[in-house]
């Protein structure tokens, strides 16, 4: 008990002192904004930075285009959910009230279609705070000290580990996730990832066309910048792209991520042809426009820039200039 109090006091003291003394230096060096990796096709050395800089996922323009491409099928977004049954409620509405209700449904749908963030993979935390040789061999187990103050964001919470060898180090990302789930449990998140995310089980799920269920569970279980999150998403997107099942994710919050993944790896031909098959010409044009923004050095972007192409012209340009990207072995 005394050890725990001492530990909590230690971490709180550490936090306040370290915050005051060292974070000033740290903050001045780190970037404040949320950043993403630059698209692989872009190169910024020796180019006109303003016009030809590749866009990131979080940019307003990109988000706008992706929201438009995702579409809004109210029947799919508000699909009946399996929950406790209640008797239905009937309301009599005038025309204006009906329009208002439809408008509200639209705003609620937009909230439900908000895309999860696409972030660069988090760098591992390997930092030793202190090496106390006199504590070596005190105990065979590691001690983890977690700051459980309520009103601080989880990413500002100090979690430190005292090894049996006496080193005091910051906890790694996996340890952090596990401990935060212990002290501040989130709904439906398990301490160990469920067996659904193993290769064999994922294949079964893909065979049953339940990609949206896999990705939804992934959103619940993992943090957006963790390696597992990226791995599961990559596998799902690969399977969708291989079998051309783009329509499974259309009009869900997961479609934007799929489109961005395909654009980053420069493989939009399958998606384009699927869109054109379903007569979504405007969506196809937006997709090509986004591709040009993301890869300003590619042939189609340069030609489009030359011809000042827009609309169907963009599609013509990309059909002429599209090249299969080299296989990454």
């Amino acid at each position: 008990m005394a050890a725990r109090c001492a530990g909590r006091a230690l971490s709180r003291a550490a936090r306040s002192v370290i915050n005051a003394e060292y974070n000033r230096a740290a903050r001045s060096q780190t970037v404040q904004r949320l950043t993403c990796t630059a698209a692989p096709g872009s190169s910024s050395s020796g180019q006109d930075a303003d016009r030809l800089k590749a866009v990131q996922f979080a940019d307003a323009e990109v988000q706008d285009i992706l929201n438009r491409i995702t579409g809004l099928d109210l029947n799919k977004v508000f699909q009946p959910v399996k929950q406790e049954l209640k008797p239905p409620k009937y309301r009599l509405l005038t025309d204006t009230q009906l329009e208002e209700a439809a408008h509200k449904a639209g705003t609620q749908a937009k909230k439900l279609l908000k895309m999860p963030p696409v972030l660069p993979e988090r760098k591992p935390i390997e930092e030793v705070l202190c090496e106390d040789k006199m504590l070596e061999g005190m105990d065979k187990a590691k001690y983890v000290f977690t700051d459980i103050t309520y009103n601080i964001p989880h990413r500002e919470r100090f979690i430190v580990v005292r090894e049996p060898s006496g080193t005091l180090r910051k906890a790694s990302w996996e340890e952090r996730d596990r401990l935060l789930q212990v002290y501040f449990p989130k709904n439906e998140r398990k301490l160990t990832p469920p067996p659904m995310f193993k290769e064999e089980n994922l294949k079964v799920m893909f065979g049953q066309n339940r990609h949206h269920a896999v990705l939804n569970y992934c959103l619940v279980q993992f943090e957006p910048d963790s390696a597992e999150f990226k791995r599961v998403h990559a596998l799902t997107y690969e399977d969708i792209e291989k079998n051309g099942k783009y329509n499974l994710l259309w009009s869900t919050r997961l479609f934007g991520g799929l489109v961005w993944h395909l654009i980053s790896s420069q493989r939009i031909d399958g998606l384009l042809s699927d869109m054109l098959q379903r007569d979504r010409v405007h969506d196809a044009e937006s997709l090509v426009h986004l591709f040009n923004l993301a890869h300003p050095q590619s042939d189609s972007a340069l030609q489009a820039q030359q011809q000042q192409a827009s609309g169907l012209e963009l599609l013509k340009v990309i059909i002429l200039t599209y090249q299969q990207p080299p296989l990454v072995l």
Partner: protein
């Protein structure tokens, strides 16, 4: 050895003890005049459960040995496509034609604890225990789905399906495992990503510069070291607690 075990048995069965001793003496005489009751009692007494001290799995032994003999032991889902199953159940769930036996109009709110005790099945066993080939396994999804409501996604109450409590527990764990493996769809909460900062710039998760190097003599913090108390404060506190100080 056997006698000491028998002496541990409960008092009401001492009556049967006496009867058994009588039976033994009768048999040694060589006359087959064994009364009708004794074979049953002998079975009861000479059952492997009493004499076998090592049997600690008293619960599942009876149930699992019956299901182990089934030909669908390795692939329980095959049974649900077999002719035998279709002939017996058709397209209805396995619990559709089962009716519990109980006194009065309102059934007890819990079904029986178990249908099979020590290898012996009760009368009117539950829908899972009565069929040797129905095996509860997390991969046997079509069987598990029969016990889940298609509208709410909840598992049916045992008072509705009639399964015994032991099988209901096994059913619940199997359904949970199947959900973890993704074989049965679950309803997941909506994850809201607004208002979260993913820059990882805070010292808790980012690199913090090491402290300026300290010589071993210098204290870690500048305010460590001898702190002298205020004279007046010290005198005041001493005066208050004078009775307790040495």
């Amino acid at each position: 050895m056997a006698a000491s075990i028998r002496s541990i048995v409960r008092a009401p069965s001492r009556f049967f003890l006496v009867l058994q001793r009588i039976h033994q003496t009768q048999v040694t005489v060589g006359v087959l005049r064994a009364p009708v009751i004794t074979p049953v009692i002998r079975n009861f007494f000479y059952s492997s459960k009493l004499l076998n001290l090592e049997s600690s799995e008293k619960n599942d032994h009876g149930v699992e040995s019956l299901k182990d003999l089934s030909r669908y032991k390795d692939k329980p889902w095959k049974y649900l496509e077999s002719e035998e199953y279709i002939e017996r159940y058709g397209s209805k769930p396995v619990w559709a034609n089962y009716r519990r036996n109980h006194k009065g109009g309102i059934p007890p709110q819990k079904t029986r604890k178990t249908c099979i005790r020590r290898g012996k099945t009760c009368g009117n066993p539950c829908p899972i225990c009565r069929d040797q080939n129905i095996i509860i396994h997390y991969q046997n999804v079509s069987l598990l789905q029969q016990f889940i409501s298609p509208y709410t996604g909840f598992v049916y109450d045992p008072t509705r399906t009639g399964v015994c409590m032991r099988q209901q527990k096994r059913l619940n764990t199997a359904i949970e495992t199947a959900k973890l493996h993704g074989l049965i769809p679950t309803q997941l909460p909506f994850v809201d990503y607004t208002g979260e900062d993913y820059s990882n710039s805070h010292g808790a998760v980012a690199h913090t510069p090491p402290p300026p190097s300290k010589t071993p003599d210098e204290p870690w913090y500048s305010w460590y070291g001898s702190i002298e108390p205020n004279e007046h404060e010290l005198a005041r506190v001493k005066k208050i607690y004078k009775a307790y100080l040495k």
